[in-house]
Every structure is written in C-alpha cells, then in structure tokens.
Amino acid sequence: MSALLSAVIATLSPAPAFGGQDSISFVRDVRPILAEHCFACHGPDEGQRQAELRFDRAEDFTRDLGGYRAVVPGEPEESELYLLVTADEAERMPPRKAGERLARESIDVLRRWIEAGGVWEPHWAYAPFRTIAAPEVADESWVRNPIDRFVLARLERDGIAPAPEADRRTLIRRVALDLVGLPPAPEEVAAFLADDGRGAYGRVVDRLLASPHYGERWARHWLDLARYADSHGFTIDQGRSMWPYRDWVVDAINADLPFDRFTIEQLAGDLLPEPTNAQLVATGFHRNTQINQEGGAKDEENRVNAVIDRVNTTGAVWLGSTVGCAQCHSHKFDPLTQIEYYQLFAFFNQTMDGGVTLGPTTFVSDESTWEWLARYEAGKVGLERALHEAETAAAVGWTLFEPDVARGENGPELLLEADGSLLSVGQNPQTSVYTLEGPVPGGAGEGGVGAVRIEALPSHGLKASGPGRSGSGNFVISRVRVYARADGEDAAWRELELASASADFEQDTRSTGGGHYPATGVLVDEERTGWAVSPRFGEPHVLVVTFAEPLRASDRRVRLELHQSFGSQHVLGRFRIRLGAARGVPHVPRAWPAAWTALEEHGKTRPSLPTSMVMRERAAPRTTRLFRRGSFLDPGERVEPGFPEAWNHFALDAVPRTRLDLARWLGHGENALAHRVTVNRWWQQLFGLGLVATENDFGLRGAAPSHPDLLEWLAREHVRLGFSRKALHRVIVTSATYRQSSTPRPKLSDPRNRKLARQARLRIDAECVRDAALVASGLLQAKLGGPPVQPPQPDGVFAFTQSVKNWLPSEGEDRYRRTLYTRIWRSSTYPFLTTFDAPAANVTCTRRIRSNTALQALVLANDAMMMELARGLARRVMAEAEDDRARIQRAFEVCLSRPPDAAEEALVARHVAGERRRHTVAGAAPEEVERRTWTAVARVLFNLDEFVTRN
C-alpha cells in the first residue's frame, strides 16, 4: 500500500474523540472500527452473517469457536480477530470486495485493546445511566453551573481559554431568539442594560421562559419531528384539520408538561383511563402521517405505510435510531432484529384509522362553547336514556349479544358502541359479510335461545339516516347463518338450521319498478334476494330468525354471519343483535322511532366545532406478522408487541401489550437513551450542533459525543429536574458556556466548534426570519392558537401541484400572525418557508439544514410580503424618531438590538440621501418622499446578514 493511499484511508477511519490519550477505550476507539468495517457481515443481521461470527455482543468475542477464539485477552497473536485483519492478502479481513481494508492505525488500536485485556463494553448510548461527577477545573471563576466544568475541563486540557462573554445586547437577542423565537424590543434591551443588579440575566431568562411565545417557539421544533401539516399529502393533498394538535403542543410546552406525560399523551393518550379531550387531541402526533387519496390506492397498503412511518418516526424521535432498516432485514449495524422491528410495529398495528378515510377525530372547542356544550350534553343524556328505554321495552325477553369479534369483509370496520350497537365505518364495500362472534349471554337461557333478533338502526352519519350504507340508505341482508359451539378453542362450530324469518317491515316496491325483499330471503343462498326496507329509511327495523332447535345447554359461543351480497354498497350501517326465545312477528312500537328522532333533532342543534384527527384502538385486535423483505404482500411469522432487547435494560411491571406500555417505556426515567436523545436535540437547538453531531443516529455508526460526560449529566439532570423542559433549558442558557461570544476563532482549527470554545453564529430558522420582520414592522399580532392562516404569497405557487389550492391571503390580524400558524400544504409549502429550509412535512425531521442561497436573497429583497413589512417598519421609525440620525439609530435597534457604529451610520445616511434624491421629483409630496425613503432603508436592514443571524 502506498503511503499516500494509507494516509487517505487513515482519514476515513474514525479518529479518537480526544487526542493524546494512551488508554484504549472499547466504546470510543474499538467499536467504531468494528462497526464500520465488520458489522455488515459479522453483526446483528442474521441474513448477512458470515462464519457465524458476530462482534456486536459480548459473549461472541470470547466464545470457543472450535479451538480458537475471536479474542484471547492479552494475546493478540492468538486472537482470530487480530490474525484475520493482519493476514496475507488472500485471507485478510475485510475481504477486498466488502470494503476498505483497515488502516494501520486501526489495526494498532485492535492490538492494544486485546493486549489490555480485550474488555467489551456496551455501546454508550444503549447503556443504563452512569453516575457522573462534574470535573475539577483550574479556573473556578468561569464556572456558573456544572455544564461549564465539563466544557472547561476539556478546554483546559487542550490549553484553550473559553471565549469572553458576549456583550449584553448580543446576549439578550440570542436568548430571546432561542427561547421565544422573537427578537427583543429595544425597550427590553434597554431595561436589561440598565439592570445592574445581580441576576439580571437570570431575570430575562425567567421572563422568556414564562412567555407564551416560548411554547410557540419550541412547539415548532417538535412539529418538525411530528411532521405536522394541514393537508393529507401525496397527490390529491386535501386539507385536514389538525391545528388543535399543533395548539396542544404549544400549550403542553407552555405548561411544561413533563417528558413522560408529554410522551404518553401523544403516543397513547387515548388509552389512558377516561382520556380528556386534550389527551385525545395529543394523539394527533401519529395521525400526522400522510393519506394517499388517489383513485386506485389500496387501503391496506395505505394503512401499513402509515404504521411503518409511525414506527420509524418513534425510533428517530425517542431512540435516535434508524429502525427502518430492520423493516426488510435485521439491522446491519445496530442491534435490532427484523422480528424486533415488527414487535414495535405490533404496538401501532391496532388503531382504527387506515385507508383513505379520515379515521377517528375528536371535537375541540374553546371555553365559550364549553358551557353550551355541557347543557347540550345534559339534554342529550336525557334523550339517550329515553331512547334506551324505548328500545328495551320493544325487546322484552331478548338479551343483548355482545360480540368480542366483529369483522367486516372487504374493508369496513365494525365499531361496538356504548349502546351495544355496531357501527360500520371506514371503507364502504360493494358487498360484505359481517361476522360477529361472542359468548352466549348470561340469562339468555330462560326459555332457551331459539332465535336471533337483528335490529337495523338509523344513524345520522348514513344516507337518509340509514340503516344501510347504500346511496339511498338501504341494505340487503341476503343470507343469515348462525353457528354455536361449546367451550374451548378446539370445540367445533355447529351450524344451526334456521326455521323461519319475519320482520316488522319488508320492502315491496314492485309497483314502482323495484323489487320484493321479504324476510324469508335470508334463509336461502341467493345473492340477489334477501331482506331490505326501502322506502322506510331513517327508522329502526327488526328481523327475527328462528332456529329449528334452540341452543344446547353446553353451547358457550355463538357466531353470526350476515351475508350482504346484493352489491352497490347495500350493507348495514348500524345494527344491534339480541338473542332470545322464538316469538311471533316482530313489531316496532312507535315510541322507539319517536325517541330516536327526538335525539337526532337535538343533535342538529349542536354547533359545528373544529375537529382533530386522533388515534383510537380498534375493538378486535389485528394479528401482526413480519413482512418478508418488508413487503406487506408477503406476511411471515406472527409477532407480539415487545421492546428491543438491546434498549430494554430496565423492567416495566407487566408484559408490554399496548401503545400505552410502549409510551410508558419510552418516557420512563430509566430509559437513558430517550433522555440522551432528547437533551441532545435541545442542545442542538441552542448551539447549532448536538453534543452528538449525528442527532438522528445514536447507533454504533453514529458520531461519538464531543462531551460524553456532559451529555450524560444533562440527561440525568433532566430526570432529576422532574422531566422539566423549562428547568433544563434554564440550566443550559444560564451557563457560562452558552453565554460565550460567538465570534469565530479560526486559530483553534475547530470550524464545527466541537470543543465549545465559543457560541455559534446561526442563520435563524425560516419562521424566525419572517417573525423578526413582523416584530420590526410593528405589525405582529401576538394572538395564540387557532386555525391556520394564509399570509400573502407570490402568485403561481400551485402551478406545480396536481390540484390548485385556494390561497386567499388573510386580511386583518391573521395576515400578521406568527409564521407557526401559516397553513402548511404538503404538496406546496409556503415558499418563504421552503426557501429558508423549513422541512417538507412528509417525514420526521430531526435537524434543519441552514443553507445560504441566492433564492433567499431574492425573497428577502423582492418579495411583496417583505415590502409590506418594510413599509410597516418605515412608518414605525418615522413615528418613533424625529431626524435622520435618530431614525437610523432606531431602525438598527429595532432590527439588530444595537445602534449602528459610525461607519454603518455613514453608509445608511448615504443610502437615505440617495433615496431621497431619487424620490424628490416634481409634484412628489414630501411625506411620500420620506415614506419611500425610509421604506428603502427598512428594506436594507431586513437584508443584512445580521438580521437573519443569531449571534
């Protein structure tokens, strides 16, 4: 190998995190080499594994491999691992075709590690919490809190002094942009400069943390992770109402909802006992998946894609891991098997939503409607009771059949309602067989169970109020089949012979060109005949089918099949089943439909309230199967919910079964990985880069933390502070580390600032750019929450999407709301946001890129919306200051939180003079000349690098 090539390869190998240390660390030095060069063939993926040798688990290193071992502690020359990486060309590992050979330095690391005993350690990110003591430092005076000890200890080791503290103007602008996402008002800057008491900065921080704008700012970071948008995505991209979820995030962060609650309510709020409306709204986190409404799209494929996205997003957000690799095969580098992937999948595989329908939603109301709603609900309860009494009176001698399995063939979901009825929702099939299975109800033995009573019920969600789902509200039950069996899984089903069928009403519309659909039609196998009820829609009807022999005393379970083969969606929309003794022709007493109508009329008085999409668990569990090579068309072995072994180092009480169990596990104080990932992302927001630079990969091939002990301390501090986001943010932003100047220090040769010898200069986020201009213009409307708004955008934005959206620019206060509230169409995001790197809300985004492009320059320089805000700033500067000098000063303080220096003032004065000359033409009103001149100045300030930068 040539010296040059060797040097090149050396740079590709992971460098030790710190220079100049002699002892070899398995975690820091050895595993990265193994992960990079060996795991693909000798790692967790059993499909790829060669020679039954793996290097991702402790036991495999020293296992007897038939006379030799991978690692013999202290003896490199007897360790197969070392022998193979140093073998002759033909034998040497890794094989030439598998990738780059190991650099000499890497081989040396392996040798020294084996010599030192070859001790395996768990991957730092997956290990339980370590106890951390903040290190001693020489310069105690610099230390404001423990963070600074970790940072300074490393700087002192490298002989680097920290940067001086940023000046106060920079500091308040920095912390305001970071915590609330808005630049400070000049008065706030002045007050901070004037406050020379101890703790002045801390008071600023406390004020910002208490501001409702804090929730708006940090909600935006979370919404990137949640892939929040106001439309369904894909090609049709219809609008959806999800903003109550967005507002829930703002509220939760402002209320400082602890991390465990924050996790549990979003992943499984619906499974909490008696969930509140807010807890249901919180589950919108995973309803932010896209829905493909394209004709021809298959519901099950849509549903499976959504579940996969939920698994992958959960892995990225809470575990900092790309679990998605294991969808098709066991992970090549990280210890996640394909089965474990589908164990995670199983947690999310039980929700009702799916296909192209909206799925479950919840109503959201503001306070003013709560009182009204309470009255409405009270009235509703009374009417529901009356209906229940009427229904019960009509069914004397019958006992409710409560199925524990309710299946609808060809797509519909059958939901068991509180009143014992079943609602057919979701896909509306052409034909279907409803299969209902459950225990023989207790007390039904009286007189023997000799008949089944099928109540076809009206429902306001159906055409003509049903009871059917066809275009007219009709249905046809073409065949009824009933089975019974004794106890025990093995007991055989016995089909019951049916004797007779009768109904309260039978369709006979032959005189008007229709057909005859008598009750007796359900007794024969004929697709086009059966029982139907046209034209008497919107009222209950009853069918009774009697058995030739009553149920036997030993029968414990009953299965009922309602075949609905007529076609064109002639299937039941809502119905109820009762069992009882055989009796005469059924009858529907008038009190029953009357009570139903009264309840429906009451329902129409309900105001239309906004909705939000939520998660609900379905009644009948789905079986989860592994998908071979990730294809849902190729299901494999059955799997049950479970936590991945490598991350499951603490025990929860029970065997995990539901999303709630998963959420409790993810939000648990001992789930060290979840806390490390979370605090690292916060650090990333406050310093531009995480302590772990690969914020989305805490796995074996991810970057090692720049300050491992600091990350560990922060994660534990997060737990110690009761999972409080605000408390930990306060700790970070009050540290001396955070308060350093951000001026680059090129002599340190640390361009990415991994040593934290300064703060970072960061281009502010897309929303912050527009918000800062809104603040400066004096036009910002600080109202919180509510439906999305539509600030002006250039024409022609929808020329590139399938369907043109109606983007009528908001007028009044909604034109000037914070950018958080701007409507997000997935197929064409607000162009200002896209230009400044806001993510497309298609998949979870754990870090925004900060680009610096000519397109950004064009938007800031020329966009009509920016010009409107520049006119606002001009008006404001002209009103708030008298002469040119004062106005220039004011404009700088409003936009940059500082006055101009002499050179800057001279340049702007030159611009003022030029503009004034340009606009002073014959007939121009002096006020107009001034207005245009100061608008031009405002425009210059909006386009300064400093305006879009957090220093």
């Binding site: 281009r763 998949v843 938007v859």
Partner: protein
C-alpha cells in the same frame, strides 16, 4: 459579472466555502467531482410524460393482442398481480385502434400518433421492457425520480448535482419545467433533495416572464434603486465580515451578488425573441404562451448555459376511459402537444453538436395494460410490468431497440430494464458508479439505486 470575475474581485476576499454554496456550483460530493470514470454524457434533459402514456398505442404493436381483442386474459399473466382499477381476472384484452409503420434505417415501429418522433427513430434508443414497482401515480413518480415509492429520498437530479455539481454560473443547475393543465402529481418531492443539502434540489421555473419567485424587483423600485440597494447591503455586510471574519457572511454577500445577476440572466433566458424563426418553427412554437414546445426550447437554452439536469413534465397522460382521459381524442391531443417538440429538441441538439454529450430521456412513470378498461370511453389501466421509454444522445446507441415483451405486451421476455437499472445507467453515462455514489444518513450509506440496479451495458454506444 461572471463567477470568475467574482472570484478575482469583489474586494471582500471571498473564500471557497462561500462560492461552494451557490446553486450547487462545484459543490458536489467530493467537493469537486465524483466522476468515477470518463463520462459519456455531461447533462440530461428528461421529458417526463406524467400520467403514463400507453406504450401499446405509441410504440408496441402486437399482432397476437390484435387477434385476441375482446378475449379474457390468460390466467397465467395475471395470477397474483395488482391493478389499480381493473379487475385482473375478468378484464378483456384489447388490441389498439392505431396504425403503425416502420421508419428509418433501424425500422422501428411507431404509431401514426407520433409522426415527428417517427422521423428521428435513427437517433433513438428504445427501451421496451422497462418495469417498476409502484402501481399508483404518486408513489410511481416518486419511484421513477427517487428510486423509492415513499417520500424522503433525494431525486435523480439531486443525486447528479451532489455527484458532479453544475456548470451554470448564473442559473440553477437543476431546473424543472412543467406544462399541461396542472402540475404533476406528487409535487415538489419529485425534484426534492431528500436528505441531501437543499442546494441540490430542483428549482421549478414558473412559466412566463418571471421564471423564479421574487425574481423581479419590487413594484416601484427602479433598476438604479435596486443597484443602490444591493450596494448598500453589500457594504454593510462587508463591514460585518471584516469585523467577524465569518465565512458565512462572505457566502451571503456572494449569494446577493448572484441574486442580482439572476435578475438579469433568468429573464434573458426565458426571452425567446432572440431565437430565429426557423428554430421556432422547428419546435412548432406558435406563441410564447406556456407550452411543452416552449419548455423544450428553454431546456436547450438552459443546458447551453451550463445547467446539468433539466426535467420537463407534461401532464394528463392518464387515459383510463373517462370523458376527458381516454385513448381517443385526449391521447391524440397529448401526442400533438409533445411529438413535434420532442423530436425538434433532438434535432436541434444534433445540429448544435450538443446531442453527443446530452442525454435525452422520454417516458412516463409506468405503462398501460394490454387489457381494456371500459368506463364511459375506452382506456387502459396502470401497468407496471412492461412499458416503453426512449433515450437519445449522451452515449447510448442510436437507432437501437433493447428488450422485447411477450406476445400481448404484458411483460418483458428479454431485456427487462427495472427503474433501478435505468438510474444506474444514467449515472454511468454521467461518469458515476451507482454503487459508489453514496450519502450517509442516519448511519446508513444511501444510494439512488438502494441495493439494486445494473448498468444496461447493451445500450451503451
């Protein structure tokens, strides 16, 4: 001011970092050039027929299919297959109503619907057995562009920008032009950067005189005032750069310079008045309103100015059998809209000596079934097992046809080309090895071709 002048002058000592960030110019995978072998093509023009044209009406006459017209499909073809709308088990085969003839020295068969394409068959390389994984438009367009049927991966054009950058000084390196009644299904993710840096994403040009959003100075701002604005912004930013020495500020200064240049260069690009009448006639440009023909001419002007990847979308090829979308008049209209200009582009590139190192690609996201789909009118359903695309120039064989489908045109018998293979081949022609053009994201080295793809060596000239 050209980029080179900017490099020399500017007075603020612009660093390499600053320039590298602009429009992906030279800012590629290896901070320069990721070509793994000598390139046959330097640039690509991709004519995307959105909605999926019927290969059976345009390029693939099948005697057996004509004979079996109205017969059920032999079960062996459809067992276990997925269709979007038709019921595979009951659908009936349908021969085409279009007539075909052989053209050129190569004797390729082309439908009566594409007379101009018929005239250039000796420049074309037909791929008759292209197949894909995705059956619906949105996912299939994503798949054709990103090699993956869900969102989140970089598009072909982004990968190319990432790999070898652009040669354009004043214009984006990856430009998207659309025509038809609406934008393509799927929208911006089709030219998205995925996990690559945003500077690699495609820039959609709007039709009309202002191809980019906010390209024009604000209302009431004269050219002199705009110049004064750029000057003052630059002077103030320069003071900050001198005080802090942060290269990001230098990059922003350079970005504003480029923005100012683009305000001139982009309108000049889209102003077709300078094109001679003979060229306008060649493309069939009857007016300057937005059209596929205008976009073809713009594409040529873009690549002349250094753009690397220009993608045209022409919509409404989804001919199922609805009143507006069937194999009668609507198909004829689509063919009229694209035929002359597609051929003109190839001829024009040839005349200018650009065809040898410019790859032209023509095709949809999938094909259409040999079975009919009878709605109110006659159409065909989505078909993923075999469809036809053509390539021209850029190092592929001319007057060549690769692959052959079975007797009813259902699936390739020989020469099947999967979308991953097509991607591998495009990268190969541009000098890149699809297995080595990688980007590490979330701990995994991603490729355009995932773990698949094979260069279709048979078609290389």
């Amino acid at each position: 001011m050209t980029r080179r002048e900017l490099l020399r002058g500017g007075g603020v000592g612009l660093g390499a970092i600053a320039l590298a960030q602009l429009l992906a110019r030279d800012a590629s995978a290896a901070d320069g050039d990721a070509r793994h072998h000598p390139a046959r093509a330097k640039r690509v023009i991709y004519l995307f027929m959105a909605g999926a044209p019927s290969q059976l009406e345009l390029f693939e006459p099948k005697d057996t299919l004509q004979r079996l017209d109205g017969e059920p499909v032999p079960a062996s073809f459809v067992a276990g297959k997925r269709f979007a709308f038709v019921d595979g088990a009951h659908a009936k085969l349908m021969g085409t109503k279009r007539t075909f003839a052989r053209y050129g020295e190569c004797g390729a068969q082309v439908s009566e619907l594409l007379p101009h394409t018929a005239g250039i068959v000796d420049e074309l390389c037909f791929l008759r057995g292209v197949h894909t994984n995705e059956i619906n438009h949105g996912p299939a367009k994503l798949f054709m562009n990103t090699g993956f049927g869900q969102f989140g991966r970089p598009s072909l054009g982004s990968w190319i920008q990432y790999g070898i950058g652009s040669e354009a000084d004043d214009l984006p390196g990856f430009v998207v032009l659309t025509s038809g009644s609406r934008g393509p299904r799927g929208g911006s993710p089709l030219w998205g950067n995925g996990f690559l840096a945003p500077r690699y994403q495609g820039t959609p040009f709007r039709s009309g005189a202002e191809p980019l959003i906010d390209l024009e100075s604000p209302a009431g701002v004269s050219p002199e005032a705009q110049r004064a604005f750029f000057d003052t912004v630059k002077d103030l930013n320069t003071l900050r750069y001198e005080a802090l020495g942060d290269e990001e500020i230098a990059a922003r200064i350079a970005a504003y310079e480029l923005a100012a240049r683009m305000q001139t260069s982009a309108p000049e690009l889209v102003d077709l008045a300078s094109e001679p009448e003979s060229v306008r006639a060649l493309y069939g440009l009857e007016h300057d309103r937005p059209s596929f023909a205008r976009n073809c001419l713009l594409a040529r002007r873009l690549i002349e100015r250094g753009s690397r990847f220009v993608q045209l979308y022409h919509t409404d090829w989804d001919h199922h059998g609805d009143p507006k979308n069937h194999l009668g008049e609507p198909l004829e209209a689509r063919c009229r809209e694209v035929d002359r200009a597609s051929a003109a582009l190839v001829i024009d590139l040839r005349r200018r000596g650009l065809l040898d190192d410019t790859l032209v690609i023509w095709g949809g996201e999938f094909g259409r079934t040999p079975m009919s789909e009878v709605r109110k009118f006659v159409g065909r359903d989505h078909h993923i097992d075999a469809f036809t695309m053509w390539l021209a120039g850029g190092g592929v064989k001319a007057g060549f046809s690769h692959g052959e489908t079975d007797e009813i045109g259902y699936a390739p018998v020989t020469g099947g080309v999967h979308v991953h293979d097509l991607h591998a081949t495009i990268l190969h022609l541009l000098g890149m090895d699809h297995e080595r053009l990688t980007f590490r994201f979330q701990g995994r080295d991603y490729r355009l071709t995932d773990v698949h793809g094979r260069v279709v060596k048979e078609i290389l000239a």
